[in-house]
Symmetry: C2
Subunit: 294 residues, 2 copies
Amino acid sequence: MPVQFSISDLERETGISRDTLRIWERRYGFPAPQRNQRSERNYSVEQLERLRLIKQLMDSGMRPGKLAILDLQQLSQITQQQRETQTVPRDVEELLQILATGPRYGLLARLEALLQQQGLRDFLIGVLAPMNHAVGEAWFAGRIGVLDEHHYAEQARMVLLTALRRLPQTPGNSRALLTTLPGEQHGLGLLMATCMLALEGVEVLLLGVQTPLEEIVRGAIEGECSIVGISCSEYMNRRTVATQLVRLRNLLPDTTVLWAGGGGIKGIPAMPTGIQLFSSLDQISTALQKSAAR
Amino acid sequence: MPVQFSISDLERETGISRDTLRIWERRYGFPAPQRNQRSERNYSVEQLERLRLIKQLMDSGMRPGKLAILDLQQLSQITQQQRETQTVPRDVEELLQILATGPRYGLLARLEALLQQQGLRDFLIGVLAPMNHAVGEAWFAGRIGVLDEHHYAEQARMVLLTALRRLPQTPGNSRALLTTLPGEQHGLGLLMATCMLALEGVEVLLLGVQTPLEEIVRGAIEGECSIVGISCSEYMNRRTVATQLVRLRNLLPDTTVLWAGGGGIKGIPAMPTGIQLFSSLDQISTALQKSAAR
DNA sequence: AGGCATAATTTGTCCTAGACAAAAATAATT
DNA sequence: AATTATTTTTGTCTAGGACAAATTATGCCT
């Protein structure tokens, strides 16, 4: 029984817009779905899988025109090659194992043990950051489900919030506002950044995900925050992120620093001055020390 | 300087698709945005506001054809009428005051004091539940912004998670899986329900927001959960909620109980047997005691 | 008057095919 | 080798038409 997907389904599942899917079909001849009586597109599981792979490879900088020609085998070969170049820490591998096979209730305990063992800073940089990436990839490859992804996020959130409340609440020397752009669903990176900043004694005004730009500006001004931090996950569209960051920069007062980090800023082209991109968490510490020295 | 929005912006901000926006313009003459040199639509802030109101009213069952004719005044008048005149507890009023006027960093302390004073159960029922409603309403009326709403949610989340971890971790007699439906953004109600269940000694598998139905089912089966709980905020479309709940019920094994609660289930018509709707948090306790007695 | 089948209307999603600017790659120049 | 100009690639927007699913109105029977 062949399962078929509508163009809406594909948009949701792959993150590629309808418009783009249609124009790829026109230009590259892929994906060329079957049509129903109403001449609507009906995509197959194979096409979905192939598009998932293409999207993943695009996020690491490749171009759709080249990828659309390749078949499933060639695509997964490239993916394989890419994956082999990066080493996954042993702890992360173990966590993934727990996530994929259970027992479900053991994840929290393992996370807490690792936190205890490594300390918050190393835990964030050495465990959670690579784990986030690995979880996203495992989901993409179909090795785990949305369910497992959510479960991981929730447990990690819990561990971090607990750790955060344990930190000494010193009246900070500076203040930061942290949130995500409209459209961004993932809030875990936000919490991780909050922890990094709190470790450096910065007072954090944590807003959840998806704050409208105007409200970010209001919050920064009213809360007298010298730093505005934006977390972008890998699932976000690069161009949207870039455009919105520039717009935010223009709306913010010149005295406010704008920082952006997370998997979603990889592959973003040059940013105008006044927007600082962080490709890893530990850059936060050094940036803070620099700005404190000034 | 008039701020202008593209059709993509509007899709993101209002949740109304491009296609729908364009066809409303064709059919009802609203919204009729200005065009730039490239004859692309440029929407004004007024149009955005009006569409936001329309979306809200649609979610409570009204039809776009009727609403699109009305101007901003008429729309807000209907909204006004819809709003029930109800008494707000004094604590909630005070919290709203803090939220609206600051100091921003005082909210957490006040929430914690109330929790300490009233105990978790009464805090949930007497403070957070009415506060959630009041915050939503205050935002709708323009008395507070998205910023304040997010700030409140984040602080409340922090208080609850801390409280949750303080509860004795008894090996529960039964297990529940808690999440929201796809499309639902608000996760605070979820955390509140988790607390209520944990108070009754139920082991909770907390997944964040927006879990696909199939994944909910898988989680319930794999995690051997006898209860599946769904939280629906007032911002959700009633019809969508009803349809999805029924679909979920059909996918779940008969032995699993399906519970739904939150502001979003008010006004939902009769549900088939096997779906239990909770209009307030304390119904959770009684329902649990009933099912335990069996 | 209430229940129910049928017709009319409303509504959202999908379609084709063309246009064009922004980004990226390539070529040409200093 | 670094800049600048040109070409190619790519995604988003436009228009108006079509149609099914959902909703409301209508007629008919009990």
